[in-house]
Symmetry: C3
Subunit: 351 residues, 3 copies
């Protein structure tokens, strides 16, 4: 029997099946430094331990999407090694803060599956839960992928498609215990704009652009221990659909998150991931810009120090975002749009 | 009102104004590892905690220019986002040692401003002070930049140009408290050449060359949280003056510092920054070489374990430095010279 | 006298001479994060402190080849700066586990030398020992290199060639004190295949490929403080034999080690290095694949929790390894083979 991992095919996923993913990972300030070097984040909460401690954190916690990448990476060998397409995310939440020294592991449960009309592939829905060394949830989300069947002739299982919310409910957001944003320092954070200052429908062009290099996206993707072959093997990709290595979609999410600092300097936490689409492929050499729209603004139950904004952040390649590029007149997403992310962020409130 | 940072224009800088910069940053061994990977430094003091402790340091301190980059990076969004040119440095000093775990922040004071003859720009002089979490000075320097006016028609303010010393006075150097170089180990440091062995007028070709890659200078510049747009956005630069992303001048300073290990293995501290000029632009693909000349040699008041050398270090692109390239016959700096740095270093003395 | 290091020439190496190498280096979780980003290792032992502690380690130890690179890097300025070729390794062993915070230094002893028939070069054999801050051995190996003579006319010394074992004897392997693999978790390690499951003669195609970028191999090589000029200076290499910067051979070793996770997920330790050959040069842009053959399988004296496999791992450039490429019909190593590594690994045993 072959000792190498050939991944799971559609037939291998049973409803209710639990996949305990390999390689628990102790994160460190080394990972944080690389995250800084690769994306250029500037949120004071993640950059400064005294800043974080003044709010009640034990020390500077990791950026939420960094936690997402570490958890997501573990799932790749078991879930998406034979994936044809990463179709969507839903019901994503971030849990207890993750600090350097914490160890993250991940488990996924198959919550749905449905053969596609071609009969050659199927869609698998998994709920992935990332936990720290104490078993506390750090990240919990649903992802669905299109996976090849091992044998096109194998019979279609009964179709089960989970009911997924259009958006994460604000009452389920996790504000870390013991944390208060009452004394939040807007001088050191870099902007006076708090939750109160953003209005529904407001659009923000994040202005700056960042060009991606092969070495950067590969280093990032390896750092997250994400093994999807399309990101690393130019010899194979040369004869593939694009002739190029594909950039991991999460790399673009983190670039967009960092670019969005310019206009969202106080977005201290990603509270929920409602949905996300990697609309078009991204390659090294592409320059990423981003813009955001405020979709909803809600206070948090029982808290006057922090509120939530639901955002759509759109990232483009080789197109600045002053005109907020998104869809054409027929409603089709533009070819230069590479990311359409619907998520919740928390911002301190004015008092 | 736009929520994004459009930077300050010449009119925005008032004499005596204090700018408290954003994003305090806790530095870590992760930053040190990246500094090592990006520049290849080999000074034992910065590489080895036992080596540092034998001299009286708490542990291995950060390289001084690394501290400079972190402090400098914070000033960019407030000082030089609309800068036309970075004109000079003066009166730079390094203070208490910075250790992993320390948190650095920066504040600048406007100490001069003068409209240029064109009427479209002005020169702004700032004194930037970087501090650790205890408020102790880690780095203190003057920088002047040419900045665009918001409105060319706005009246010129009274010109104030600060008086700046040609060189930092040796009596103002900071030798860390409790540190003695009496037992300095020249076997483990890699060279027997101490302060006593260098003579004024001596020139050293540092021999080695290092080629710069796009991924490297961008990772470094993001690590320092320096947001100057010219370093990152190839889409925009393609139609700019050079058609290329510019390499952050400080990247070349750190490359030159690392290259200069070959011949200056015991230059344990950068004590003062007298002046510096980024003479010509540097781009990815350029190979950097460097040479140094000893301009002055002074003992330190009250110390027989350590002395100071004033150096000029010149870095070139695509030209080895065996012939010490610098100026042409007319005194003009050669086009292949990219850095002209005038600074003080400390070296252990022979006893 | 020149203050820069011109390296040692053949005449400079005296039999029995001890070379104490410069720059002791305190390794950190920052180095570990970079190692992860550069190679994508996934062994749970090195990634997770709780996983390591469950086996009796103090915390997650560093990958053995990472230790090798740090030790090897120190030797370059003294041993191989004037090397014409890196000819071989033998009798390599790994000692006590290395943890973040440990400080590594290296000393080499000249154990052989022999002028080559040309009279212009000679072969030097050194035994390098890397130690931690307590003087405990972390890595101990023999390397021989062909070095230029300073003066072709200088007389040949008496030839002394050390007797080197064809393979490291299993009784000399170091299993860290207090460590037991009895409770090894094959779910979290990513594979059920233990020592018992591998048979002599078995070949494993590690399937995946990884393309090398200039920024990556240079960052790695600087991280190991390896100063060999051929890796960094494109200006000089442009007129050299290949017109390109050469990739450090150890970079390929670590890539092969990471690729081999797919099929050798439980290879928790590199116990011995029997020999290694960098058969052909590797350049940026090359895609590395690897395959392994089990040469021997031996139990460890007095232990029922862990056994050893002797492996040959072959790495190729731009050629997948499904057909196990190695030698042509005449027995010559194929031009696409870049690494031929003969080494011992330890794997937990089934109980």
């Amino acid at each position: 029997m072959s000792k190498t991992n050939s991944g799971h095919f559609f037939e291998d996923f049973a409803l209710g099946q639990e996949l305990v993913h390999a390689t628990p990972r102790t994160v460190s300030t080394g990972d944080v430094a690389l995250h800084t070097a690769l994306y250029g984040p500037r949120l004071a909460l993640h950059a400064s331990t005294p800043f974080a401690q003044a709010l009640g954190y034990r020390e500077a916690p990791l950026d939420d999407f960094m936690v997402f990448h570490v958890v997501f990476g573990k799932t790749v060998p078991d879930i998406s090694l034979n994936a044809v397409a990463n179709l969507g995310y839903a019901r994503g939440r971030f849990g207890v803060p993750v600090y350097p020294g914490d160890t993250l592991s991940a488990t996924s449960t198959v919550i749905g599956r449905k053969e596609t009309s071609s009969g050659k592939t199927g869609v698998v829905y998994v709920n992935t839960v990332g936990s720290n060394q104490h078993g506390a949830m750090v990240c919990d989300y649903v992802r669905w992928v299109m996976v090849n069947k091992r044998d096109p002739a194998s019979p279609a299982p009964e179709a089960v498609v989970p009911e997924l919310p259009e958006r994460v409910a604000p009452e389920s957001f996790v504000v870390p215990e013991g944390v208060s944003f009452a004394g939040y320092d807007t001088t050191r954070s870099g902007s006076p704009h708090l939750w109160d200052d953003y209005t529904v429908g407001e659009r923000i062009d994040h202005v700056d652009g960042m060009t991606i290099e092969e070495a950067e996206h590969m280093m990032a993707t390896r750092l997250w221990q994400n093994t999807a072959k399309v990101h690393f093997n130019q010899y194979e990709q040369a004869s593939g659909r694009f002739g190029r290595r594909l950039v991991y979609g999460g790399h673009v999410i983190s670039l967009a998150r960092s670019l969005s600092f310019n206009g969202l300097e106080n977005a201290v936490r990603v509270a929920g991931l409602n949905g996300g689409l990697h609309c078009n492929p991204t390659f090294a050499g592409d320059t990423i810009h981003a813009w955001s729209e405020v979709l909803e603004s809600v206070p948090l139950p029982g808290r006057d120090d922090v509120g939530a904004l639901r955002l759509r952040t759109v990232a483009t390649k080789d197109r600045p975002c002053g005109s907020f590029p998104y869809r054409d007149k027929e409603g089709r997403i533009l070819p230069e749009v590479v990311l359409d992310l619907d998520y919740w962020i928390l911002l301190p409130r004015r008092r």
